[in-house]
């Protein structure tokens, strides 16, 4: 009996740690979706870019981890800003599908460019917390996962206060609710939208730099986008608290499924959840209900 509860507790901790990453990625996607109504399929590739740039800065140039993290976050934020200002903005007003296609195209280009620059082999880089773990009442957890959890919570809190109490944050909220009204009130909607992209880039950079040491620095890092989409749908599409709750839940469900369900279920359970939620409750756990306007 005790053994059973120990397993459950261990799985819960692992699930929350994995879920924190999903939540962070989902948060970036939902920020961009709320502001510009573009579902960013290239978000995973921003993770790839930040992982590879951190690898280059740490192992090739020999910079300390913190400096590399700062440079990567700034660089990816700038990149995402430019992506919106130069490319994505041009398709405003076209059907939603055009946005999906454009971000998929950009994802292909980024992925191709990264593998042209760095080559196909996967690699790794050291962090201050690699190879360490904390023991707590018979449970063990890698320090890196604790850091990921901490950083995710910190980013979420900072974003919360940013949206609540700063002029730019309020402007972003206004622009995402009604662009025309925001514009008439003096919000520079285009620039604000690009800044939201930069903000999405920041979350992607944090997620990428912290996730890569666990999974290896590799092109296939972008697959986390798909898990994040499941998290978004479960939490309610377009809701920021929903993204976080959904991410954590998907992480937990995956861990439990890996132990208590048949072999191979762990890889697909997130997608099963996605389909089930969309059939049974399309607005997710925390999303607003969808009215249909003709």
């Amino acid at each position: 009996m005790n053994d059973f509860w120990l397993t459950i507790a261990q799985l819960t901790i692992n699930g929350i740690a994995v879920g924190a990453i999903y939540a962070l990625v989902a948060l970036g996607i939902v920020l961009i979706y709320k502001a510009t109504e573009v579902l960013n399929f290239a978000h995973g590739d921003l993770l790839v870019v930040s992982a590879f740039s951190a690898w280059g800065l740490i192992t090739v140039w020999g910079l300390p981890f913190w400096l590399a993290l700062m440079i990567t976050v700034l660089g990816v934020a700038l990149f995402a800003f430019a992506l919106d200002a130069l490319v994505i903005r041009r398709i405003a007003g076209q059907p939603q599908f055009a946005g999906v296609m454009l971000t998929i195209a950009l994802a292909f280009m980024i992925r191709g460019a990264v593998s042209m620059l760095f080559g196909p082999e996967s690699r790794n880089y050291p962090t201050p917390w690699s190879q360490q773990s904390t023991q707590l009442a018979g449970l063990s957890i890698a320090n890196l996962q604790l850091v990921i959890l901490g950083v995710s919570m910190m980013v979420t809190l900072v974003l919360f206060f940013f949206f609540r109490f700063t002029r730019l944050g309020v402007a972003m909220q206004a622009a995402s609710q009604n662009q025309l009204a925001a514009y008439l009130n003096g919000v520079r909607v285009k620039r604000v939208n690009s800044m939201v992209w930069a903000l999405g880039g920041v979350t992607a950079a944090f997620a990428g730099v912290l996730l890569a040491p666990i999974t290896l620095v590799d092109i296939s890092l972008w697959f986390v986008t798909l898990k994040a989409l499941s998290a978004l749908v479960l939490g309610g599409f377009g809701s920021i608290p929903g993204a976080i709750v959904g991410g954590l839940l998907i992480g937990l469900i995956e861990q439990y499924a890996g132990v208590y369900m048949p072999d191979g279920t762990k890889d697909i359970v997130a997608y099963l959840v996605l389909i089930a939620v969309l059939i049974v409750r399309p607005h997710g756990l925390l999303g607003e209900a969808h009215g249909r306007r003709v």
Partner: protein, 358 residues
Amino acid sequence: MRFDYHTQYREGFALWRSPFDRNLYALLLLGLCTLPWFMTPFMLGETAYVFILCVASLGLMSLTGLTGQVSLGHAAFIAIGAYGHAWFLSKGVPLPLSMVMAAMLSAAAGLLVGIPAIRVSGLYLAMVTLAFAIIVEQIIGHWSSVTGGFTGLAVNDPVFLGLSLSGPKAFYFFCLFTLVLVLVALLNILRSGMGRALIGVRESEAAAYALGIPVERMKAGAFALSAGITGLAGSMLAHHLKYLTPDGFTLLLSLELVLMVVIGGLGSLRGAVLGAVLISSLPTAISRIKPFLPDSVAKQFGLETFIFGLVLALFVLFEPMGLNGRWLKIRSFLESFPIYRKDTFKRNKRYMKSERYR
């Protein structure tokens, strides 16, 4: 200069716009029929592969282009068609029947996805189909008693009435025949009430509903039709590959199909074919120009991915109507030669319209 001057109601939806068009297509078909005598067996096999992709792309076009339902997971239907066909063949089902059964199996799977499609639309549908494709890929990998799992499944040679179709020429004609069959069938569906209902659903669900079109049934039916055609393409692909493994039917194949449809031009069968031809000849073209590039670029691994993305991005940004739109512009330029106006196809300025509350 040519005018569409209809004197009878039926001319409005005739199969050919004019006898000239009909003769042109007949000439094209004749040319394709004589092609095998001018090509190496390798090129012939590649052309047959292009035909197979054309069928798959037509399948996706009948869903995304005609009915307006997005699918990012059509590789799943190709996989179901291919594996179903291989399994039926191994049980001794004759070739044509096995292909039809594989297409039906795929159509049934399409119906399965089509039922949630009634409730969700747009981005949500894209995600449902994406998730479905990943699930199917995993199931194929793990269900080894039927699919051979990750070790793969060998496909029996195609034999029709005691005649082997596995030679390059025979297989070429087999694929060409199926492509023409699917194309003519779709053209006729488009002229029928059902085709117009599908287009009505694409243009406005509410308006279609008000006109008495059973929108839900049309959506599910479009999914079944599209999945059936794509499954048919899968059954031919099984013969092209000769050996099926799950990594032949990944997300990349789904995205390539979407690429074909978008680059070809949403909403037109001609576009589906043009897009499939362009996308499937792109890798060959890239490997042809590689010798002229500097070594540092040509040797790289991601060049193909990058160029695929670039082509798609350029089309989305500068020619949203795709290759078909470009073709229409060229044609109208030629048809109205001295007096073509540059602004005929000018894109209207459009404003951001929220889709959030739909």
